[in-house]
């Protein structure tokens, strides 16, 4: 699939990729193209972009098969480090979480927890789980997007990173009460994974948070 000839308009400039909107037949699609980073050595740059494009496309497809709400892969353009996927209607959680009332926010976090549970149960860890990578859908559960850092793993450590990152993004960018948000998330998560996986993951998440520098109590 060659995306270079595709007629598209730029939608969003992310940290590592440009997202643009295009139409293929009946579908509105998003082209995610990993762009060259000026700061990075060209060999390292090409390696990172190539590896992540392939891994992201296959993980998204696997997540879909596992029943998680993720975009559908339309095609992969390895030469241009681009993935074509279906466009999702909705609002980024980072933009709307603070406008919600407490119970609505708790409900959202609970369904985010369920989605993470589905991924983890399928042996997929997201690797960059922040409220910027959750799209709140007007119809049905929220979508999880941006699998650029994701990997296949059944380690509690890797699952813990996901919950740790989500918690930190809630603490650092939102006004909602973090512990109430995370409690709701964990309830939804546990519903899918069962208590055993949920408690080992959450224990790891707290351990990872304490790994940062200069904690008095470890």
């Amino acid at each position: 699939m060659d995306t270079a000839s595709l007629n598209s308009t730029l939608l969003h400039r992310g940290a590592e990729a440009d997202l643009s909107l295009a139409t293929i037949g009946p579908w509105r699609v998003v082209v995610k193209r990993r762009v060259r980073k000026e700061y990075r050595n060209p060999i390292l740059d090409e390696r990172i972009r190539h590896d992540r494009t392939i891994s992201e496309a296959s993980v998204i497809h696997e997540a879909k098969t596992a029943g998680a709400r993720v975009p559908s892969i339309v095609g992969v353009d390895i030469e241009n480090n681009a993935i074509v996927m279906t466009h999702l209607a909705g609002t980024v959680a980072r933009e709307c979480l603070d406008d919600m009332g407490k119970s609505e926010a708790q409900k959202l976090l609970r369904s985010i927890g369920e989605q993470i549970g589905l991924l983890h149960t399928a042996g997929i860890v997201h690797g960059d789980l922040t409220t910027s990578n959750v799209i709140v859908s007007p119809s049905g559960p929220p979508f999880i997007v941006d699998f650029g850092m994701s990997r296949r793993s059944i380690e509690a450590e890797d699952r813990g990173v996901d919950l740790h990152l989500l918690q930190r993004s809630i603490i650092a960018s939102h006004r909602q009460n973090p512990s109430s948000m995370m409690n709701s998330m964990i309830r939804g998560y546990e519903e899918i994974t069962g208590m055993k996986v949920a408690s080992s993951t959450w224990r790891k998440a707290r351990e990872i948070a304490r790994r940062g520098r200069y904690f008095a109590i470890r």
Binding site: R13, G14, A15, E16, K37, E38, Y39, R40, N41, I43, L44, R47, I48, R94, G127, D128, L129, T130, S132, M149, V161, L165, R168, S169, I171, A172, S173, I208, R211, G212, R213, Y214, F215, A216
Partner: protein, 330 residues
């Protein structure tokens, strides 16, 4: 109002005067240099500090014409750092505060790195990147505190470069030595690249680089590859954080901020996203008295002071535990 700042968290003992307009009047420092291949021994460093303290403070308190200046505030680095080293600076601070009858102000060394960089750059509310032997953190200020947006999960960037430098028998500080060698290298050797969300982890990279070193890889190429990989990891984490926090300024502070290659890379990230870039001037990047004086003055103006009986040192002290109400800066 003149503030005397005393730094003694690790290898450097320093004293400095900063006035009410944020001007650095004096800045006198002496750094303990361990022998090649050896790290900082906390007791030996503290002995160095105790030996030079008198001269350093005396020099910092005198003007060019030789007359002495009486400070209005005494600020000391209360942590984080090496216990024996911290205690030397705290002792000097307590003694001066008690003798001169001037208020004593405890300062967080990491917060101080950011304060001096912000003062010089006149930055208001930046995404801050703090890279040194003690810290590798990406921070934004929310409410009253610096919040950690990303950080190292194991060793710091300064640790990585220092420890590799010691393995390679390069002179301290490791960052400068590795940087010099890297200029001669061209071939990129594949090394572990570990970014987890906005966090980085450097210990795997250190092990891999040290193993290749023992296998007699070309030192210049290895330094080049180590630096490119480690800095790219951090730059990527910074870029993610910048996109998420949308700050219009990027600040780079701490000892490793002296690296020209890192300045180039973080500067390129900032430019790419339309943010202004403010690297700390090289002479104030490493540990120095001026950072403590600068931060101490700001803290005092926000009502921070401590009685001598409560003036402990805190070897482990997280940046996100400190109230920093003076940011955003006017």
């Amino acid at each position: 109002m003149i503030c005397l700042g005393i730094e003694s968290t690790a290898h450097t003992f320093g004293a400095s005067l900063v006035d009410a307009n944020d001007r650095i009047l004096t800045n006198v420092n002496s750094t303990y240099r361990p022998p090649v291949g050896v790290g900082i021994h906390p007791r030996k460093a503290s002995e160095h500090h105790a030996t030079v303290a008198d001269d350093i403070v005396r020099t910092a308190l005198s003007t060019t014409d030789g007359s002495a200046i009486d400070p209005d505030i005494i600020a000391y680095a209360a942590g984080p750092g090496l216990g024996p080293c911290l205690r030397v600076g705290a002792t000097v601070g307590r003694a001066l505060s008690s003798f001169l009858k001037k208020p004593l102000v405890p300062v967080h060394h990491g917060v101080a790195h950011l304060d001096i960089a912000m003062s010089i750059a006149k930055a208001r509310d930046p995404l801050a990147v703090l890279v040194s032997g003690g810290h590798t953190s990406i921070l934004v200020h929310v409410g009253k505190k610096w919040r950690v947006y990303g950080e190292t999960q194991d060793i710091t960037l300064g640790n990585l470069l220092d420890m590799f430098g010691r393995e390679a028998r390069l002179p301290s500080p490791g960052g400068a030595s590795v940087g010099r060698e890297a200029m001669k290298g061209q071939n990129l050797i594949k090394l572990p690249y570990t970014v987890k969300g906005n966090d980085v982890a450097y210990s795997g990279l250190l092990t891999a680089a040290a193993t290749l070193l023992r296998k007699q890889s070309n030192l210049a190429d290895l330094c080049f590859s180590l630096q490119e990989t480690a800095f790219s990891m951090l730059s990527e984490a910074v870029e993610r954080s910048l996109v998420q926090t949308r700050r219009s300024e990027v600040l780079l502070a701490g000892g490793v901020a002296a690296s020209p290659r890192l300045r180039e890379m973080i500067g390129s990230v900032a430019e790419d996203h339309g943010s202004s870039f403010h690297p700390v001037p090289i002479e104030y990047s490493g540990d120095c008295g001026a950072q403590i004086a600068c931060s101490g003055r700001l803290a005092f103006e926000s009502g921070v002071k401590i009685s001598i009986s409560d003036s402990f040192v805190t070897p482990r002290w997280r940046m996100d535990e400190v109230d920093v109400p003076w940011i955003p800066r006017a």
